[in-house]
Symmetry: C2
Subunit: 196 residues, 2 copies
DNA sequence: CAAAGATGTGAGTAAATGCTCAGGTTCTCA
DNA sequence: TGAGAACCTGAGCATTTACTCACATCTTTG
């Protein structure tokens, strides 16, 4: 049973920087070459550390990729929590969540795509799925205020819809988020039945 | 420059069956183990042919996977064309297209998922993207009748939406297409602004 | 400062994997 | 029926790749 957790945690600042460099190198390789061609030796080289150092912190290749995934998902989740903490009205909150999703996805579009495609091959841990559910739960909590018959499935659908439109747009070469935002808002309010 | 086209075409029936067996074996491995763990030796073994035979027809591993992808996409496209040929009204046609998409995706959900995730790593040929555009164009052609301001992007969004909802549902363990269909219809008519 | 611990190195290994090739078997057709 | 074409075989090569380990260097702490 191979775990995808880091092998040990860095104690000195130097080691923290090393781990971060490894994760960032993996991210860069993911967005330039995709997951199939990513090798641990390559990651170490790009990170400027030896292969031995990589394996000191990450027990296997999947753990490195999982670390990238967690870094990105944690950032998105944090953004969501920030927005909700602002305590805007439900409609404004939903709008903000959509924009945050779009911004997050478009900051590094090729990375977001690669991660999306690699995730199901990764056999993630329970805690990772828990984070996903938490994100969906956050959305559900807001959505229910404007559409009382919405449930967790509806929230899941909405997240999936936003990601799909954004990814497809990015993949087909659209480079302007401004052109995508209205489509996301339309899709969401359409799904929820919020006419005008 | 590696091509993903078959190396040569089968002339005898026996060879046609061999090629089909290889493609089906690859499909089975895709849905049971995902793309990362699929090896050509494994495909040949499961197909009941020797590795040499596999490479007689497919120049490399990607060509085998691309063949699976083409088989599935061709089936979906054919279904779409059938529906449109029926000449129903635009609203009924759209409903039928949605149901066809759902059925196609749920016939072998894990295969559909794996293919979706492997496609961008595959560097497909021009002709393959042409098929995608044709499918989108078919949708656009119908959609424009009920929503005159819709364009190819809208059609692309709609296809993406349907796939995303279905995939996410399948991935989160939903096994009942009946529960998914209404959500697809709602998402589509919501996006198009058709609130009955 | 000196010891102990934390961190980093990189050549090397075992295994997996894509793919070839020399030669066999089955089919077609005059 | 026999010769050529189409089809199939599978041992094995060359390469790639995940990962280890014995050792070196840096950092902290008593």
């Amino acid at each position: 049973m191979t775990s995808h957790q880091p092998r040990k945690s860095a104690q000195q600042g130097r080691a923290k920087a090393t781990m971060a460099a490894i994760v960032e190198a993996a991210a860069r390789l993911l967005e330039t070459q995709g997951g199939a061609r990513l090798t641990t030796n390559h990651v170490a080289e790009l990170a400027g550390v030896s292969i031995g150092t990589l394996y000191q912190y990450y027990p296997n290749k999947e753990a490195v990729i999982a670390a990238v995934l967690r870094r990105e998902k944690a950032a998105l989740l944090a953004g969501f929590e920030d927005i909700i903490a602002r305590g805007l009205g439900p409609k404004s909150t939903i709008d903000a969540l959509i924009d945050a999703t779009l911004a997050h996805q478009y900051t590094r579009p090729r990375l977001a795509l690669a991660l999306e495609y690699i995730e199901p091959e990764l056999g993630l841990l329970v805690e990772d799925h828990a984070r996903d559910r938490r994100l969906v739960a956050l959305v559900a909590q807001v959505v229910i205020e404007v559409a009382p018959d919405a449930d967790a499935r509806a929230a899941q659908d909405l997240v999936a819809i936003c990601r799909a439109i954004t990814n497809t747009a990015a993949m087909s070469g659209e480079t302007d988020p401004t052109a995508i935002a209205p489509r996301l808002h339309r899709a969401v309010s359409g799904y929820l039945g919020l006419h005008a």
